[in-house]
Symmetry: C2
């Protein structure tokens, strides 16, 4: 029953569009959910997508718009008049509408807002677009049902009935005092099973989690996960209830944070998607490639100082890649564990030393294993001098990389820099350079001494 998009499906639909078979197209689209239709539009040419969008009914169209890829949505909206955009916004939840209006070119935002027919919706959106990105305010929607504690269950139900058109999905009713201050909540289940004449104050739950408008979205996500919430009320600085955040928006935050981490770890410096344009994809990657190049150049200068030694012992060059790669691998492993622990809040800020010691322990164990193996190999293939150099250097490099892989992300986190940045090209490049330095230093010592 779940929709699965295939290339053949797209081709067939394209043919229907080409032949303008409106009825068949409408029939096909009717079977699908907005998210599925959006998936299809993402893969059509702009003109085809606009044609298909026109065929959608008033309720489905705004939902499809919201599910589109950002670039596609931009292209589609560019073909709309401000009046048409306003009509779409009128049929959305206030938070979605605010997100969408923020994507529009600044010069038309006011015009679109002024053309929204529902005055309440327009003023809700106007309020929401003022909240800073990355805060609870930017995530919340204005649609909610609140009741006073002195009301009866029947009055609550009447209120829900009145608001039922505005609030699509509802899990709870919030309880406020005379000053609109949030004092508790009432689950719909509780409302259903309570006596119609019971007063809210007798049955409501005063133990309610909430956040302020300026709480960070990371904290919102953390709270909703930790306490298994599907909806979280938002209050202003005076504690007055002004909005609510639902779990679907938070799931997006969680996924985006994970994706951002993966991208930072992989040396991609901007949020990109494989469907983005080529130049955007290139631009997002070039910064860390240039850092890597600088690292490589620095490495070449270090090796350059050993030019004479390499002439006499060219076998020293053989193990350069091994030392570099192992330093990088160990560093990435350590930092990945730390970045993950930081993301999950399993590290207490004032207890960093035990983590460092543990990672060094892991480095010690794995360093011994690897260096013994490479010592045996190099002894058989080459001679004992090279064997001693490589294994001693490898052991030192692994220990060093374990330390840096732990220390760098922890330090970055302390200075409020995304620690995932440390787990990728940065730590790899750093360990590459340090690895080579150690290797040739050990080599000079051993070859010099004996």
């Amino acid at each position: 029953m779940q929709f699965e998009l295939s290339g053949t499906y797209i081709d067939e639909l394209r043919e229907l569009i080409e032949l303008k078979k409106i009825d068949s197209i409408k029939e096909q689209l009717n079977e699908l959910y907005p998210a599925d239709i959006a998936q299809i539009l993402n893969r059509l040419k702009d003109s085809e997508a606009a044609y298909l969008y026109e065929l959608l009914d008033d309720e489905t169209a705004p939902q499809v718009l919201l599910e589109l890829d950002e670039e596609k949505r931009e292209d589609l909206l560019a073909t709309f008049s401000t009046k048409e955009i306003a009509e779409q916004l009128d049929n959305m939840d206030s938070d979605d509408a605010a997100d969408l209006i923020a994507e529009l070119p600044e010069n038309i935002q006011d015009e679109v807002l002024s053309q929204i027919e529902d005055i309440e919706q327009a003023s809700d959106i106007a309020e929401l677009i003022n909240y800073e990105e990355g805060t609870a305010g930017s995530l919340m929607a204005k649609e909610l049902v609140s009741v006073y504690s002195f009301e009866t269950v029947t009055a609550c139900i009447d209120e829900i009935r009145r608001q039922t058109d505005n609030v699509d999905v509802m899990y709870a009713v919030y309880v406020v005092d005379d000053n609109q201050k949030l004092i508790g909540m009432l689950s719909l289940k509780k409302l259903i099973v309570s006596h119609p004449l019971a007063r809210v104050e007798e049955i409501y739950d005063a133990d309610v989690q909430f956040v302020k408008t300026n709480t960070s979205t990371e904290d919102v996500a953390e709270i909703m996960q930790r306490y298994d919430l599907v909806v979280l009320p938002v209050v202003d600085q005076l504690g007055r209830l002004i909005g609510r955040i639902t779990i679907d928006d938070v799931v997006d935050v969680i996924k985006e944070a994970a994706e951002e981490n993966i991208q930072r770890m992989s040396g991609i410096s901007d949020d990109v998607d494989s469907n983005d344009k080529l130049w955007r994809l290139s631009r997002a990657r070039i910064p860390w490639l240039l850092v890597g190049m600088c690292g490589g150049i620095l490495g070449s200068r270090i090796i350059g100082t050993y030019e004479e030694q390499i002439k006499i012992h060219p076998e020293m060059a053989f193990f350069i890649p091994l030392i570099g790669a192992m330093g990088g691998n160990v560093g990435v492993q350590s930092s990945a564990i730390i970045v993950q622990a930081l993301a999950n809040n399993t590290i207490i800020n004032d207890r960093i030393a035990p983590k460092l010691i543990k990672e060094l322990g892991v480095g010690f164990v794995n360093g011994i294993i690897c260096s013994v193996l490479i010592m045996a190999y190099a002894y058989v293939i080459e001679d004992w001098k090279l064997s001693a150099t490589v294994s001693l250097a490898l052991f030192t490099v692994i220990l060093c990389a374990s330390f840096l892989g732990t220390f760098v992300p922890l330090t970055m986190n302390k200075f409020k820099i995304n620690p995932a940045l440390a787990t990728g090209p940065f730590v790899t490049t750093l360990n590459d350079i340090i690895g080579i330095s150690i290797y040739f230093l050990v080599g000079r010592l051993l070859y010099g001494v004996f």
Copy 2:
């Protein structure tokens, strides 16, 4: 108002435990949610944790148990009798209880099950532990409210009232036919605003998303996200309603999948956590380190064949780290984008060629930029031969790494291997070796020809 754990907090609590100040401890714990208490227990010694756990009330204790780190929970449960474990399970949702019983040593599982007082709970758990891990069946809970389509709203509400003790959180009532086949749903909101004498068949929503017990958890997560669901019913092979999955469990699936991807990408071959024991952390990392070593040894053999050339032109060795690192970086960037696109289902299976072409395009652009820069640098510092060698090799390596970084994860995905495995030590090692081969091959050609 949100709880923030600090080292000082733990120290103070430890002191209270030491002094056995039961009242103060209870007072402190009373202010906290189960998830917060679990966070504290995770950081205490086993004996302290057991002491604190004893002080919790019957409703809080099982919730705390569920939120503990797995190792801590194992240690704590080891001090319990089977009867005590059974008591904890009796106060949990069936899905949580089934997950927990699956963690117990096999020889005591049956004994614990037989000691659960509530027979219905015991048989629910017995059913759930049979579902394979990674399927919808393993995620679902048995607690749900279902009604027949011929019932009235009032009858539904009575049914909810009857079940209210079993079902903690409820968002919808499911509608079934005489054979218990799922035919639709009714949101609590709809139930509240409908006339008490209205029949379910007049008001229910027949358009309900569901999954089968053997649907994969990834698909469950994908469906709940795509359609913004907070609860998803589960049916058996005959379409009969047998359970439901809630969004909080799916959030865990999403987070675990992201974490697993990050670990695989970082060359960690087992699911570990920074709190795991040292030997577990070491064991999880050694496999990819050994692969990296083999790659390094292979690299050393390749360079070894150019020993004579290095003696004459030791400057060739200078740029070995640069070539290796750049191949690795580019490969990781490309594969991260592809792994992400695969995770988000933005790649259609039968349309792989466009992705390859795009990544090669990005590689081409970045390859040109990097190789021109390095050509200029090497020309100024060394000579035109080395400059030409390095830049030509770098360009080829970047193109090659772009191709492999795209092709390898796509291919692995086709063969149902986690593509994240390709984005890390594997692709780095591969590109290292290929990079060095290309570099020395180009060098031999250029130095030989001119």
